[in-house]
């Protein structure tokens, strides 16, 4: 007897959200998912999981977004939470230099503990910086390939996730 019935199946992807405490990871998810699945999980077991279904290239994707509690350094976060991830979003705060000064090191650490997976770099809180400041930040941030966003205004929030899904679908 065949136990499989794939008529109703959909492609699920695990996405992990990384970045220091206070950079706006949870706000980005809230803006993208439009729902609040009890924030208290983050304070109790260090992770909160949200789900969003997106349609891309005629395929339905179910994104399970793991919002991992931010620490000063990612080393303190349980490694197991990152295992099996298909994609990662690394968020830093444009108004908080400490969140992007060690970006190279943080990304290298992430690559060390999980196999190479597609990831998107996000500079959040554009609503709090002006053009001159932005130009200064661009000189400091070691990467060129990142998306500027604002969880407050919603700027580029959808793009973060769709761009990651595109990378994962390749």
């Amino acid at each position: 007897m065949n136990i499989f019935n794939k008529g109703n199946s959909k492609l699920s992807k695990k996405i992990i959200l990384l970045g220091q405490f206070g950079v706006g990871k949870s706000s980005l998810i809230e803006k993208f998912v439009h729902q609040e699945f009890s924030e208290m999980y983050i304070t109790t077991i260090g992770v909160k999981i949200d789900k969003k279904e997106v349609q891309l290239g005629g395929r339905k994707y179910s994104l399970l977004i793991w919002d991992i509690a931010g620490e000063d350094t990612q080393i303190k976060v349980p490694t197991a939470y990152k295992l099996g991830a298909h994609g990662a979003i690394f968020v830093f705060d444009l108004t908080m230099p400490s969140s992007f000064e060690n970006l190279e090191h943080d990304i290298a650490y992430m690559k060390k503990i999980i196999p190479p997976i597609p990831f998107v770099l996000v500079g959040n809180k554009t609503d709090l910086v002006d053009e001159a400041e932005m130009a200064r930040i661009k000189e400091i941030v070691p990467h060129n390939d990142y998306i500027y966003s604002s969880a407050k205004t919603g700027e580029n929030v959808e793009s973060i996730f769709t761009s990651l899904v595109k990378k994962m679908a390749k």
Binding site: N2, K14, I45, V47, S62, Y81
Partner: protein, 282 residues
């Protein structure tokens, strides 16, 4: 000459007095009226009955108003005070509540035992029916205790949910839900996170979380190499039920392994329909 002056003065002063009387007559009347009113007020103030008749309606109105406004005026302060007292005098609170809670628990347990005893009676009645004899034969061959099987029938054990979850990612391969209240994908993720959290927190890398108990709910974990199964059961779990469940899980996993080529990573809801059928008769 010196004597005349006062007579003149006296005449003048009489005239002055008369003039004053004429001019101040109305004032005097007003004064008398005021004195009369003050006397009346004094009498009211000094006579209990009269004072009470005047003041009581005012006090009553004020009290009624206070009664209406009390929750909004003092509610938050009282709540805060109670919270503070409970936090700072937990032992006293426990001492005060212990007898009441004790009585409630005693009452609840005796009521539950009554219900259980009724169910066991019914089970014994059934035991002497054809079904009962069949069950007995089953226990002779199966090895499970007859009392376990009788208790299992009495305890309303229900499989509420089953999840087949990929080990690392926490993605759902398949699920069955009796009530379908919460998103299964998110539950699968959270169950994986809890499992990982326990392993991480207690540094038990070679051991796995086997179960969580939540009031009358039992969350049982069955770990395998690529995935794990979580079965949520409500009611009382007897040894025989646990044994039966374990056998069914292993049978299911065996079937799954035989068709493991069909399992596609990241693809959820692959055999959800089959899960329900498989565990239905448990």
């Amino acid at each position: 000459m010196q004597v005349v002056k006062p007579i003149v003065a006296s005449k003048e002063s009489n005239q002055m007095l008369q003039l004053r009387d004429i001019l101040l007559e109305k004032d005097r009347e007003r004064q008398l009226g005021l004195i009369e009113r003050v006397n009346k007020v004094q009498e009211t103030l000094n006579t209990k009955e009269k004072l009470s008749a005047k003041v009581s309606p005012l006090i009553k109105a004020e009290l009624d108003q206070l009664k209406n406004d009390f929750p909004t005026l003092f509610g938050p302060v009282i709540t805060e005070t109670i919270k503070y007292q409970i936090q700072n005098s937990q032992d006293e609170v426990v001492d005060a509540l212990y007898p009441i809670i004790g009585k409630l628990i005693r009452k609840y347990i005796s009521r539950e035992i009554e219900i259980l005893s009724e169910r066991v009676d019914k089970q014994f009645e059934k035991a002497f029916s054809w079904q009962g004899w069949l069950k007995r034969i089953k226990t002779w061959f199966g090895g499970a205790k007859e009392s376990d099987i009788i208790l299992q029938g009495a305890s309303n054990t229900i499989i509420e949910e089953i999840f087949v979850i990929e080990q690392n990612s926490g993605l759902l391969f398949g699920s069955y839900s009796r009530t379908k209240t919460i998103d299964e994908d998110m539950i699968a993720g959270m169950l994986t996170a809890i499992k990982s959290f326990v392993v991480d927190a207690f540094k038990t890398k070679d051991q796995n979380l086997e179960g969580i108990e939540y009031e009358s709910y039992h969350i049982l974990f069955y770990n395998f190499n690529k995935f794990f199964l979580t079965v949520v059961v409500s009611g009382t779990i007897t040894a025989s039920f646990k044994d039966q469940l374990e056998k069914t899980v292993l049978k299911f996993v065996d079937k799954l392994r035989k068709q493991s080529n069909n399992i596609e990573e990241s693809e959820s809801n692959q055999f959800s329909g089959y899960l329900e059928k498989f565990f239905k008769n448990l």
